[in-house]
C-alpha cells in the first residue's frame, strides 16, 4: 500500500543555523495510522511537521503526501490534504468570531457561501462548539480555541491531521478533552484520517499506533509504542519521559525485586503486583 506520507532522505537547515534541524530523514507513515512524534525541545519535531505541508522547504530530499510531491507546483493540493493545529491557541485564530474562523479555510478554497452556511455549523457541531459560533476569541478558553482550530481543519476534510504540540498550552482538563475529541473523530473517520501528533504527553503517545523518536534532527526509531517505551534507558538518555509502569519497574528492580522483562501497561503492572501478592 502506498504510504500517506513519505520522506526520502530529507534534510533541512534554518538560515544562519550552524546545525541542520533535520538530517537525512527517511520515513513512511501509513494511511489511517495514529502516529506520535516524540523528542525533546529542539529535536526537530516541529520542523518535521512544517515540511509536510510546505511551510518549510527541504534543503535536500523529497517528500510526498498521498503520492503527490510536496513542492511549489502542488502546494495548494498538499494543503487541502493536510490540516494542522499549532501549539498556541491564540496565534492561529484568524477569524473575528468562531464561525468566521472556521469559514476562513473555506473562503480560501472559494467554497460558495451557501455551502459554507452548511459546513460551518456542521464542523462546529462535531467539536461541540456550536453554541459558541458568534463568540469572539477573547471570550474563549484555550481548550475551546483549540477545538475551534480542529473544526477549522475538519471543515476542509483533509486526509492528514497534524497536531503540533496542540495540547501543550492547555490545562489538564483541556488536554484530556482535546485528546478524547481527536480519538472520537479518528474512530468516526477510520482509515480516512491519519493523525500525526507531535507531543510530550507520554500517555497520549502510548495509545498511538506508531511512535517516531527524533533526537537532534535525526530519526532514532519508529516502532510500536510497546517497543519504544520498553527501553526506558534510551528514553531517559534522550531526555524523554518514561511511562509510569516502566518507572515503577525500575524502582522495584533497584530494590531487588524481580520484574517482568516485557513492556507493561499501568494496568498490566497492577495485575502483576496483585498476583505476586496473592501468591504469598
Amino acid at each position: 500500500m502506498q504510504p500517506i506520507i513519505e520522506f526520502k532522505d530529507v534534510s533541512f537547515s534554518y538560515p544562519n543555523a550552524e546545525q541542520p534541524a533535520l538530517k537525512n530523514l527517511s520515513l513512511q507513515i501509513q494511511k489511517g495510522d495514529w502516529v506520535a512524534v516524540i523528542g525533546h525541545n529542539g529535536s526537530g519535531k516541529s520542523t518535521f511537521a512544517k515540511l509536510i505541508n510546505y511551510l518549510l522547504i527541504p534543503t535536500s530530499g523529497s517528500i510526498t503526501v498521498d503520492g503527490i510531491p510536496v513542492d511549489q507546483e502542488h502546494v495548494y493540493d498538499i494543503r487541502d490534504l493536510v490540516g494542522m493545529v499549532f501549539q498556541n491557541p491564540d496565534n492561529q485564530f484568524v477569524g473575528a468570531t468562531v464561525a468566521d474562523d472556521v469559514a476562513f479555510g473555506l473562503e480560501n478554497r472559494q467554497v460558495p457561501r451557501e455551502k459554507m452556511l452548511e459546513i460551518v455549523p456542521d464542523a462546529l457541531e462535531r467539536v461541540q462548539m456550536n453554541a459558541y459560533a458568534a463568540r469572539e476569541p477573547a471570550r474563549l478558553s484555550g481548550g475551546q480555541k483549540q477545538r475551534v482550530a480542529i473544526a477549522s481543519v475538519l471543515a476542509v476534510e483533509p486526509k492528514v491531521l497534524i497536531l503540533d504540540e496542540a495540547t501543550s498550552m492547555l490545562d489538564p482538563k483541556g488536554r484530556r478533552e482535546m485528546i478524547a475529541l481527536v480519538h472520537e473523530l479518528k474512530q468516526e473517520l477510520g482509515a480516512e484520517l491519519t493523525v500525526l501528533s507531535i507531543t510530550h504527553d507520554i500517555d497520549e503517545a502510548a495509545s498511538a499506533d506508531e511512535v517516531v523518536i527524533l533526537n537532534d534532527g535525526e530519526l532514532m526509531g519508529v516502532d510500536k509504542p510497546e517497543v519504544i517505551f520498553s527501553d526506558a534507558e534510551r528514553l531517559r538518555r534522550l531526555g524523554l519521559a518514561v511511562p509510569f509502569a516502566e518507572q515503577l519497574k525500575a524502582k522495584l528492580k533497584a530494590r531487588g525485586i524481580k520484574v517482568p522483562e516485557t513492556y507493561q501497561t499501568t494496568e498490566g503492572m497492577a495485575e502483576w503486583i496483585w498476583q505476586l501478592h496473592s501468591k504469598m
Partner: protein, 287 residues
C-alpha cells in the same frame, strides 16, 4: 516570611458595570520557609490570589499580612512598590519579560530597580545565572537569541537575583519538555533549601506537588476549599476529581491496588510506592 490571608475578597473592576468577583472569603496561612503548592482548575482564583500577594491589585475586602506588612483595601498603592522587594514573582511564561540587550543586563535590571549598586547587582546576577545553570559564555548574548528553555532560565534568574525572601512560581514549567520540567523543579527545591526561601508553587502537575510540597492549598470557585499536607489532600481522590483535579500517578496506582484489596496507603511518589510494594511482598525476590 510568613503569609496570612484573612477573609480576603476581590472583585475586578469593582464599582463598575463590568465588576466580576474573583475571590471570596479566602483564609489561609503559609508558614515561613515552607514549600506550598496551590492547586485548582483554571479560573478558580489562583492567579488572582497571586496578584494580591504581590500587591499588583488591592483586596476589596479583608486583610493580607506578609511578614510585618499589612495590605488592605485602604493601603496606598505607592507603599506597595517597596513591599514587592521581598517577593520574587515568576509569572507564567516569564520569558515574555526579557527586554535588555544582554542576558546579564536583563538579570541585573530587577536588583538595580530595588536599589542595588551596579557592582552589587552584577554579583547577584552572576550568582543567579550560575544557579539556573546558564553558561558564562551566554552572559553577553542577546536574550532573544537563546532557546525557549534558556530564555525561561534567564527570566527566572532575573527574579532570583533580586534576592527575595518569598518566591512565587505561577506554572513555571508550562511548555517545557519533560526533562526541562524536572530540571527546573529540582532547581527550585534546591534553591529553597539553599536560600531558606518561602516558596509558593501554582501548578497543575500533581507529581510535583507530591514530590516537593509540604503544604497544599486547594482553590475552587474563588475560595480556598481545603488545606493540608499532600498526603491529606491526595487521600480523597474522588473529591479532587469532583474539583477537576488529579492525583499523582503513584497515588492513583496505589489507590487502584488498594481498591483491589491490597493494604497500600496512598503513596505520594514512586519511591514511597516502591517501598510499600516491597514491604507488601516481603522483601527482595531476586534469586
Amino acid at each position: 516570611m510568613a503569609i496570612t490571608f484573612k477573609n480576603v475578597g476581590f472583585t475586578y473592576q469593582a464599582g463598575t458595570p463590568f465588576a466580576t468577583p474573583a475571590l471570596y472569603d479566602v483564609n489561609f496561612n503559609i508558614p515561613d520557609h515552607s514549600f506550598t503548592a496551590v492547586i485548582g482548575h483554571t479560573g478558580s482564583g489562583k492567579s488572582t490570589m497571586v496578584q494580591l500577594l504581590d500587591g499588583l491589585e488591592l483586596p476589596t475586602d479583608g486583610e493580607i499580612t506578609i511578614g510585618s506588612a499589612t495590605i488592605t483595601a485602604a493601603t496606598k498603592r505607592k507603599t506597595l512598590n517597596g513591599m514587592r522587594h521581598d517577593i520574587g514573582m515568576v509569572f507564567q511564561f516569564p520569558e515574555a519579560q526579557l527586554f535588555e540587550q544582554t542576558v546579564l543586563a536583563d538579570v541585573m535590571f530587577g536588583p538595580m530597580n530595588y536599589g542595588m549598586s551596579k557592582a552589587e547587582a552584577e554579583i547577584a546576577a552572576k550568582a543567579a545565572l550560575a544557579l539556573v545553570q546558564m553558561p558564562e559564555s551566554s552572559y553577553e548574548a542577546s536574550p532573544f537569541d537563546l532557546s525557549g528553555g534558556q530564555m525561561r532560565r534567564v527570566a527566572i534568574a532575573g527574579v532570583i537575583a533580586m534576592e527575595p525572601e518569598i518566591l512565587i512560581l505561577d506554572e513555571p514549567t508550562a511548555g517545557l519538555d519533560p526533562a526541562g520540567q524536572a530540571d527546573l523543579m529540582a532547581l527550585f527545591a534546591n534553591l529553597q533549601k539553599e536560600r531558606d526561601l518561602t516558596v509558593i508553587l501554582i501548578t497543575h502537575q500533581m507529581e510535583f506537588v507530591g514530590q516537593y510540597a509540604d503544604n497544599v492549598l486547594v482553590f475552587d470557585a474563588g475560595s480556598v476549599v481545603k488545606t493540608g499536607t499532600p498526603a491529606e489532600i491526595f487521600a480523597d481522590s474522588d473529591w479532587l476529581r469532583q474539583k477537576q483535579l488529579d492525583v499523582p500517578a503513584a497515588t492513583q496506582f496505589s489507590d487502584y491496588l488498594e481498591a483491589k484489596g491490597l493494604p497500600l496507603h496512598g503513596a505520594l511518589d514512586l519511591d514511597q510506592l516502591a517501598d510499600e510494594i516491597v514491604g507488601l511482598i516481603g522483601g527482595p525476590t531476586h534469586e
